[in-house]
Symmetry: C2
Subunit: 193 residues, 2 copies
């Protein structure tokens, strides 16, 4: 686990290089093939530096999943809820369908049976949701949606449709798929732009 005195975003100067190496190795070799030694070799950062920040590979993997630029989901700010949801849903779809993120996500799913990965998945999606809430706060302030709308349900419907089509059905969504999903949900929210 990360030392409690440090904030989650903290890390050595070379943190992004370490995170990239960690996720690349996870994608290539799976959870069992991921080692601190491998990350040191791939990132060019000395093993003692890595161990100074993360006590074991689970702590490192957690930090990499949460903080790697590779899986970032920045909250868009386009000026409308529709624009923001299109940007967000399109971004999720790109992460699922383009490399290297697609392989990293498949590898993380492949390890999903392990308790440590369950805990990390919970943290990862809670963290991403927290970042997405601002979209709905701004939409409420602009009077675009009612106060009682449940952002988590909206995000689960939209992100869930992307995951289902790509990872469960193993299909390439047709052009406009994300927009169709967003417009259906916006209709339900009584959104009129």
């Amino acid at each position: 686990m990360v030392n409690a005195a440090r904030r989650p975003g903290d890390g050595p100067r070379q943190a992004q290089a370490i995170f990239t190496a960690t996720l690349e190795l996870l994608a290539e070799r799976g959870y069992d093939g991921l080692t601190m030694e491998g990350v040191a070799a791939r990132s060019g950062v000395h093993k003692t530096t890595i161990y100074r920040w993360w006590t074991d590979k689970d702590a490192l993997l957690g930090a990499a999943l949460l903080n790697s630029a590779l899986l970032e989901l920045p909250a868009p700010d386009t000026g409308t809820l529709r624009g923001d949801l299109l940007a967000l849903t399109g971004h999720v779809l790109r992460l699922l369908t383009t490399e290297p993120s697609a392989s990293v996500i498949t590898a993380a799913l492949t390890a999903a049976g392990r308790p440590v990965l369950s805990r990390l998945a919970h943290e990862f999606f809670a963290d991403r949701l927290a970042g997405e809430l601002v979209i709905f706060d701004r939409a409420r302030q602009r009077g675009e949606i009612a106060a009682d709308i449940d952002p988590k349900l909206v995000v689960d419907l939209l992100a869930g449709a992307m995951w289902t089509r790509v990872l469960l059905r193993q299909e390439q969504p047709p052009p406009g798929f994300a927009a169709q999903a967003v417009d259906l949900v916006l209709t339900a929210l009584g959104w009129s732009g």
Copy 2:
């Protein structure tokens, strides 16, 4: 692969016992630990009988995933689209959250990086969708929804929300979660009962 002269539902008299043993072993030992010998021992069906029907473990696993009673998703027929979608979404949620189906699904996901499992996932969800289409056909005939509604998008949104909340967020959905999702989507479809 299943012999082309046989229909997918065909199989020896003991088919369900073989399918149950196959999925139990997948859940307990993972894809690598699943063997024809293990299935024979667990099901009590002689190995030569199993090999007569399925040439290798991938063919057997495909048949088990598609045809086991454990993962059946029978199309409900409650008389209304809302009733049918509540039943369907509730059933998906139960499969994801109760044993033994929850462990089987996690184990199948855990093997998701393998091409054979990708192909099987595609077939599995295409087969389940084909079964669900009748719900929407009947709703159209009853005049509950417009002719141009995309049932696949509706199913992906609803099933996706269940998968996202349970398997990605690793959370127990609150009571009424499935109904909330169904009612949001029905509002979008202009459904009035």
